[in-house]
Symmetry: C2
Subunit: 353 residues, 2 copies
DNA sequence: GTTTATTTCGTGTACGTACACATAATAAAC
DNA sequence: GTTTATTATGTGTACGTACACGAAATAAAC
C-alpha cells in the first residue's frame, strides 16, 4: 500500500484522464502553441480538478534553460573594503547553486557615481534575469528599477539597506535602528555621568545619510527610552579624506572637553582611529563593520568596539533565498535581520563573517 | 559554449576517470558492499579531487525511499484549543512536501501525562525517522529523547519552547522573554502612576512554569530597564478550573485595591475573563494566543490585548526546515523567532495565523 | 479527387541519480 | 584441471518533467 496503484503521478495522470499524450499536457502547461482549443480546455479543466502541482525537482532537473540571478553591489572601493565580503558571499552561493543550472551574473556600480548605478540596472533589465539581488544605494533609482521588475514579475531582494513599500521578496540585512540602539547601550555602560559622546556621520554621499540617520535615531532613542540625559555632539563630515576628518574632530574636541567616546556610524571608523592617533588623543572608539582596516585598528587598540552584521552572510542568504523562491517556490521571510554582533580585540579571531 | 563538452557531470565523470561504471561509483558513494578495496580507494580519491557534490534534486527524484518526518505535539485538549493551529500548519507543510516522497508522521501526547509523552518518543525512536519536530513540553524527557536522536544523527527541531544546549537543528517559536517585555511595554502605556498589575501564571503543570517564567522575567525586566517602579502582584495558580481561579483572583483584588490590569502569561486568559465577569470587575486584561475562546472574549470586550506568535506558522516552518535540511541540505537558522503580534478587537479579523 | 501546407498530437531521449538484476572476474573446493 | 561459491562490476530501467522531432490528422489549394 505504499503507492496507490491506479494513481499515476502528475503529468501522466492528467494525460491518461484526457486521453492524450504527456506531450500535449506539457504544451498546455507551458502555454505553448499547437494544441486545439477543445483539448486545451479539457486538459486545463483536469489540471484544475486535480490541483496539479508540478514536481519542481523534476522540472529543474529536466529543464535545460538556465536560470539567471543578477546581483548588483558596489565595487570594492579604495574608501572601504566592505563590499568584498558580500561578494564572497555571492560566490559561495554561486558555487552551491550552479549545479542546478543556475547562473549568477554579478554587476557592480561605483558608489560615487549615480550614473553607473543606473547604467547597470539598465543592463540587468535588458537581459531580464529570473531574479535580482541588489544593494539599493541610490534610493530613487533603485525604486524605479524595482518597479520595473515588479511589472515583469521578476523577484528582487534588497541587502544591506531596505526600501520600504517596494514589494521586495525580502530584505536581508541589518536592523539599522536596533544596531544604533545597541551601540548606545554599550555607551551607557562605559561613560560616566559627566562625560559625553561625539557622533560622527562620515559620508561624501548625501543619499547615504538616510541609512546613517536610522542608526542615529536608534542611538538617541536608547537614551530617551531610559531617561538618560546624555549630551550627544553630532558632526556630519561630507569628505572622507583624513585631513578633513582630523580638522573636524579636533574642532569638536576642543569645543567639548567632556567628550570621551566617539561613535562612528559606519565603516570609516578606522580613519577616525588614525586621526586620533595623530592628534594624540586616547578616546573610546566605537564603529561599524568587520573589515581589514578596522580589524587592524582593533588589534592595535585604537578601536574598542566594532558592530558587525555578517555582510557575507547577507549576500549569501539573498542569493539562496532567490534560488529557493524561484526554483522551489519556497516561501521567503519578508524581513531577514542579521544578528547584531559586537567585536572586540578579544573575540575578533572567532568571528565568522 | 553553454556547457563544456568534455565535462560530464557528476557520477558519470567520476566513472569515466576511474574506468568503472556508474554503478560502481554509486556503490562507493553509498558505502555499499561489493567493490574491491583498490577501486574503492581510487574512486574515493577522485570524488575528493573533484569535490563532487551530488545533485540533490536528481537524488530525491530517483530515490524510492520515502523520507519520514515525525511530529510530536500535544493533542488538542479541552483546556485549550491552542494546538489545533500547529496541527494545521503541519498539514499544510505535509501537502507541500508529499509530492517529493516525504511522509509526515504525526504523533500526539497528553499534556497532562508525562508517560504518554515518553511513550510517543519511544514509538518515534523505534521507526527511526529522518527528522523530528517536537514541542518539548517535558524538558527532561525531551532532552533524553533528543540526545538519542543526536547519536543517530537524526535532526530535530523544537517548536513553541526551546531547550538550550541540545544541538537542535533549529528552534522555531516565540521569543518568550521579549514577548513578556513587550507586554510590559503595553502595560506601561496603560497604567497610571498609582495603579498596579496582577500577574497570573495559570498552569496545572509545574514543568510548564519554566516557560511562563521566561515571560515573567521579560515582563519584569522592562520595568527595571526603564526604572519604572511598578508594583507587580504575582499569583501562581496550579489549577485550571474556573472556581479556583476565581477564588484566587478575588483574594488578590481585595488585598490589592490598586490593581487595574491583569497579565496572564498563557492562553488561559479567557478563563480569567469569565471570572472577572462573574466577579463583576472591569479590569484591563492582557493574555496570550489567538484561539477561539480568547477571540470570543476579545470581541466581547472582556479581553483587551492578545499577544500571539503564529503557532500554525511555527509548525509549518518547522516541517519545511526539516525538509530543506534533509532533502536539499540547506542551512537552517538556529533560531527562528516568530514576530510578536498584538491583537485587539480592532485588528483580529485581519490576523493570519 | 490528389497534393500540399498546416495544425495537432505522440514518441523518444535527456536530466543526474538510485537500485535491481545480469554478467564477469576471482577465489574456493574438489 | 572443472565446478561451484563468492565477490566485483556493468547494464537497464525508473523517477517526473522538458523538449526536439516525427507522425497523424486536418485544412487549404488545385
Amino acid at each position: 500500500m505504499a503507492k496507490k496503484d491506479g494513481q499515476l503521478s502528475g503529468v501522466k495522470e492528467i494525460a491518461r484522464r484526457a486521453n492524450v499524450s504527456i506531450g500535449t499536457v506539457d504544451r498546455v502547461l507551458h502555454n505553448r502553441a499547437g494544441v486545439s482549443p477543445k483539448t486545451r480546455d479539457k486538459i486545463k479543466a483536469i489540471i484544475k480538478e486535480l490541483d496539479y502541482q508540478p514536481n519542481l525537482l523534476a522540472r529543474r532537473l529536466a529543464s535545460k534553460k538556465v536560470i539567471h540571478i543578477a546581483t548588483l553591489i558596489p565595487t570594492v572601493s579604495k574608501d572601504t573594503s566592505f563590499w568584498s565580503q558580500p561578494l564572497q558571499g555571492i560566490m559561495r552561493a554561486e558555487a552551491e547553486v550552479q549545479k542546478y543550472n543556475i547562473k549568477v551574473d554579478k554587476y557592480f556600480f561605483d558608489q560615487d557615481d549615480k550614473t553607473s548605478f543606473v547604467n547597470q540596472t539598465k543592463k540587468i533589465f535588458r537581459v531580464k534575469p529570473d531574479g535580482v539581488m541588489l544593494s539599493p544605494d541610490f534610493v530613487d533609482e533603485a525604486t524605479a528599477f524595482t518597479n520595473k521588475c515588479s511589472k515583469l514579475d521578476i523577484p528582487f531582494v534588497f541587502i544591506d539597506s531596505d526600501i520600504e513599500g517596494q514589494n521586495s521578496l525580502s530584505y536581508i540585512g541589518p536592523h539599522l535602528y536596533d544596531s544604533g540602539y545597541l551601540a548606545a547601550n554599550l555607551v551607557s555602560y562605559i561613560l560616566r555621568e559627566n562625560e559625553s559622546v561625539l557622533l560622527l556621520n562620515i559620508s561624501q554621499r548625501m543619499y547615504k545619510h538616510h541609512h546613517l540617520l536610522r542608526k542615529e535615531e536608534g542611538f538617541r532613542a536608547y537614551f530617551i527610552d531610559n531617561s538618560l540625559n546624555k549630551k550627544i555632539t553630532k558632526v556630519d563630515i561630507k569628505k572622507s579624506d583624513r585631513h578633513s576628518i582630523e580638522k573636524e574632530i579636533a574642532a569638536s574636541l576642543t569645543k567639548n572637553k567632556d567628550i570621551r567616546l566617539i561613535f562612528v556610524t559606519n565603516s570609516r571608523v578606522s580613519l577616525v582611529a588614525q586621526c586620533l592617533k595623530k592628534l594624540k588623543k586616547k578616546l573610546i572608539l566605537i564603529g561599524y563593520d568587520f573589515i581589514e582596516e578596522n580589524i587592524k585598528a582593533l588589534v592595535d587598540g585604537d578601536i574598542d568596539f566594532l558592530i558587525c552584521q555578517k555582510p557575507g552572510e547577507q549576500a549569501y542568504k539573498a542569493v539562496m533565498s532567490l534560488y529557493q523562491y524561484i526554483v522551489l517556490n519556497a516561501t521567503v521571510d519578508r524581513m531577514q535581520f542579521m544578528p547584531i554582533d559586537i567585536i572586540t580585540r578579544e573575540n575578533y579571531q572567532f568571528y565568522k563573517n
